[in-house]
Symmetry: C2
Subunit: 623 residues, 2 copies
């Protein structure tokens, strides 16, 4: 199917919406524009929007007084929303839908009709049983009201992820997608109100906590060795010891960055899961994972994934407050990924790599849980780009937290583009319209903290160079049974230490030098790069380099050697001779992205000794 689509209209609309003016407001008020945007959207795509607008009736008209206005800037983001919300949204202050409006709702037998306010009453058990995700009339509950969202689903900017809440309370989802906690969203929902919750099912005017389903109920159990920052959604970093000891991070301790819950895949093989590919001409083709596995050659690469917020905590500590999860240096891991090349699949679907159409500028991905992001077309035009649809991680099927049954791997690129549980791929002339693409993952200048123009800078894609210290030990190791004093000192009586860590650069640029300072940057020496090349697979240098340094700690104080304190620093250089910035202040950005400054670790010899002594004591007690 090929459909001529006036994309420029979509583009113009987008541009206009970026700077509301009287003329724009006028344009936005026009009913035809409202119908246009009220078309069904999953990954927002003007194709789908247009096609759907032809097929579907617009949703029930809202109350007459609804108007459109600008949305406050979502600097702290993290919610779902799709920017559409910021384009077309009612202004607060509109009255709730009246019972008269509700009379227009489809007829339904209430559990317990109550006449005094004109609202029928429904039992929660009945709603769950009859109006769940698979029913033809899905309902949701918010506080004490019941809503029939059947007509709203095709219009929902987040797509049918809303069905996840069907049959129960929508409240926990709004806790995740906080964009919904605005009056105009409530007002929109009120159009679909069909009744109220039966008073026996209410406590203080809302369903009991026990009756509200936890969206994360099916999330996998996480390894206790992970350091959890948040549990719902799960965000957990790999600890220093696991980073230091493994070139390929074991699946159980690979850092987890979820924006939402882990989608439940009923087919335990994952093979029936489908991915729909949409080409610039509107042509669509759906592949099941089983088909991908059987029809295309499988490839293995090893690659680092890293969150753009890795080391954000350091930026907050050394520069100024940043928004977002306060990661340490463990929002990074490395694994072997196996799957099919996205290039091969796109070529099979009909995309021409020899003569890519001019409007093929971005590859948009969406996942089952409503997350979406995109990469520039250049990432797949380079045959050595190694972009995969991956099914396996370190020789095992992808774990739920890492995208089972299939995720995108774009090596050398920020992990936010490596969409998990991917079910739709669109080749488009524009970036994904999600806030994860257009807002959250960008860096402004240190001075740019308000009135941000979100289009000014590019989304983070290829990662810059970074490095970190993951473990510092007295030599011999404090964990060792005894500390032979003479071996723990150099000729001058300084304590010998061992420092370990990683260094990584994006875009396939290989780390070639790691500089270490034991005196806070006054003097430097080189760490030894650990040779993990036997494990590396792929067309470019997609992995980190682990490094190790052994040296003598200079004593700052005369006298008591245990008082020695100093700062260890690491900085790395890649093969384009890019290196890390010296301090966080010069790269500070509100979102705390790409905190790649020299990594500094305070070292306190006394504490080290205490740890050793405690270990020795424990050992004695065991004997």
């Amino acid at each position: 199917m090929s459909l001529p689509v006036p994309r420029h209209i979509g583009r113009e609309l987008w541009k206009l919406a970026q700077r509301p003016k009287p003329a724009v407001a006028q344009f936005l008020r026009a009913p035809e524009s409202r119908q246009f945007v009220a078309s069904p959207v999953r990954t927002f795509s003007y194709h789908s929007a247009f096609r759907a607008a032809e097929r579907k009736a617009p949703p029930r008209p809202s109350s007459k007084s609804r108007r459109f206005g600008p949305l406050p800037v979502l600097a702290t983001g993290g919610g779902v929303l799709t920017l559409l919300f910021s384009v077309f949204q009612p202004v607060p202050g509109t009255p709730l839908a009246s019972p008269d409006d509700i009379s227009a709702a489809p007829p339904h037998e209430p559990t317990d009709a109550v006449a005094d306010d004109g609202f029928p009453r429904y039992r929660l058990s009945k709603i769950k049983e009859e109006h769940g995700p698979k029913s033809s009339q899905p309902w949701v509950v918010f506080e004490d009201k019941v809503y029939n969202i059947t007509d709203w689903i095709p219009t929902h900017p987040g797509g049918d992820v809303i069905l996840r809440a069907a049959g129960g309370s929508i409240e926990p989802y709004w806790d995740i997608f906080s964009i919904h906690k605005q009056p105009y969203v409530r007002e929109l929902l009120d159009q679909y109100c069909v009744g109220k919750v039966h008073p026996d099912d209410l406590e203080n005017g809302r369903p009991r906590m026990n009756d509200i389903e936890d969206p994360f109920v099916a999330d996998p159990v996480r390894d206790p060795r992970l350091l959890q920052l948040t549990s719902k959604p799960c965000n957990a970093e790999t600890v220093g010891q696991d980073l230091a000891e493994n070139f390929l991070t074991p699946n159980d301790v690979f850092y987890v960055r979820n924006h939402m819950w882990v989608p439940v895949i009923e087919d335990k093989t994952g093979d029936s899961h489908g991915i729909t590919i949409e080409l610039p001409d509107g042509e669509e083709r759906t592949y099941t994972v089983g088909e991908l596995k059987s029809r295309f050659k499988q490839h293995a690469i090893t690659a680092v994934l890293q969150c753009s917020g890795n080391r954000r905590k350091d930026m907050t500590e050394h520069a100024s407050k940043t928004n977002g999860l306060q990661w340490g240096s463990g929002a990074i891991s490395c694994a072997k990924w196996e799957g099919v090349r996205l290039r091969d699949v796109l070529a099979d679907a009909g995309f021409s790599f020899e003569n890519p159409p001019e409007d093929a500028q971005h590859v948009q991905f969406s996942g089952l849980e409503a997350y979406g992001a995109s990469i520039p077309i250049r990432s797949i035009l380079d045959p050595r780009g190694d972009v995969l649809l991956a099914f396996k991680m370190n020789d095992l099927p992808l774990p739920g937290d890492h995208g089972f049954p299939v995720r995108v791997i774009v090596p050398g690129t920020v992990a936010a583009r490596c969409v998990k549980w991917v079910n739709k791929i669109v080749i488009s002339d524009e970036e994904s319209t999600t806030s994860w693409q257009r807002r959250d993952y960008k860096c402004f200048g240190p001075n740019e903290v308000k009135n941000l123009d979100w289009d000014k800078y590019k989304s983070i894609q290829e990662m810059p160079i970074t490095s970190a210290i993951t473990r510092t030990r007295l030599k011999p190791e404090p964990e060792s049974k005894t500390i032979p004093k003479e071996k723990a000192k150099d000729a001058a009586g300084n304590n010998l230490i061992q420092i370990e860590g990683y260094a990584y650069s994006g875009g396939g640029r290989e780390i070639q030098r790691v500089d270490i300072s034991l005196d806070n940057g006054k003097s430097w020496d080189q760490a030894k790069l650990i040779d993990d090349t036997a494990h590396e697979k792929g067309s470019k240098a997609w992995c980190w380099k682990r490094w190790r340094y052994e040296g003598a700690v200079p004593l700052e104080h005369e006298g008591d050697e245990h008082e020695a304190k100093t700062t260890f620093v690491v900085k790395a250089t890649d093969d384009a001779y890019n290196t890390q910035p010296q301090c966080y202040k010069s790269i500070f950005n509100l979102r705390g992205n790409l905190a790649t400054a020299w990594h500094r670790v305070e070292f306190d010899l006394a504490k080290c000794h205490e740890r050793v002594q405690a270990a020795q004591k424990e050992l004695k007690n065991k004997k």
Copy 2:
């Protein structure tokens, strides 16, 4: 012609030579190894070496006492040499060739035979006339001695560039290729001594200055607007004003970096100039420039060329002494280049891009003047790499200084790989063996200043991000006729200034932000990026971004406003969010390469005013 070549022997030989040991010395002394290296080499290639060794007789045996030993490290390099010299070289202290040895030289009628020391005497005019570059018996003169180099030419590590000196004194060439100024080279030459210069042609034991030919005699006249660092060879930078005013640097003021003289091309069209391509299987194919122009599609790209030593002077000033030309911030320029794609030519010559052989790891280039360098094969595997054999620069034939009739353009890569006057291209399993490839253009750590292991780091290829201030003016411009005081100040009475400059990153990474500080890095603002996109051509972002900033200079001193002094700083960020290092000390390296730290410019308002007043005075005087 396809020839099985045991390249591994060459590689092993190379490795052995890096760390001389008794066993190595033994190996090096073996006559067969000497014969092996005594094969004719232009671009050093083991293919050619082997093939030639089959064809040619070894040179005249040297004196019996010649032995081999290690060469001192060439930290300050810049000489030609080809590293072969460091592999096979006689140890100093061997006696000069005796007149007895000379009796073995081919018979020749001396101009004026002198019997007392057994050496025949020759007139310089006769040597020039009968033993020039085109004679069958080319001779050179050094001090008062005359040498027949006929047998040495095929063995000369620098190739037949030595013929440039034939018929005259070799001294000026040794001034350029300073590697020759070592006892073992003199000793080597002495084997070929055939006589002495006639005493009438000597002054203080050597030919008169007027009788020594200047290798640079045919060099083009340079534009006086260029700032010359050296004239022979010519090294000249583009001044700030020309950098600020032009997106495409005019050819006349495009910076010049020559390692030697400008080769003379007798065919004024350049079309008969040949380039020989050697594939990994030894297959050779020669194309003339005329053939390249007529048979292949021509492409145009715009790209920056930058010397790795750009801003080296700043590193010397702010960190420590560096070796090499002390460039300011003008060893960079941008031009439009037109020519044929190297990929197309290599494919025509028989190179398979679909299944490149495993030993295709590097593309080596050599130029007519003996310069050589290489790029990794990945640069041409990416179809969007845009590597050209360029004939035109800014719509004109390449100027002599920039490689007429053909040079390599590797956009996004250091200019040292963009070999000028290219006449040989070899696809090899190893880098070019020249010191320009394996030594000069590398960066060691700040502490690595002696006992360098030259194989430890990679050669500079893709350039890291950099930026510089090229012009600072009071606003309105000091060059303007009058300074209306009220417009030159902001509301607070601060002087308004305008700062301009460039920002550039290699590898096709686009500049996306330029931060400016007027107070030495305490606070930041963003410069406006000048939109030159209409002039940009190419698959990736190969050009610089020019930028402009207008702001108010804060006064440091109360009272006299003319005393205001401050430091302006610029730093840039590219689309991989790589940014510049803060200071030179942390990136210091002996060779002063890649001095990409934040660019700082001292600003003295008083001096600015003086300049304005001088301009005004001059203007009045003209009236």
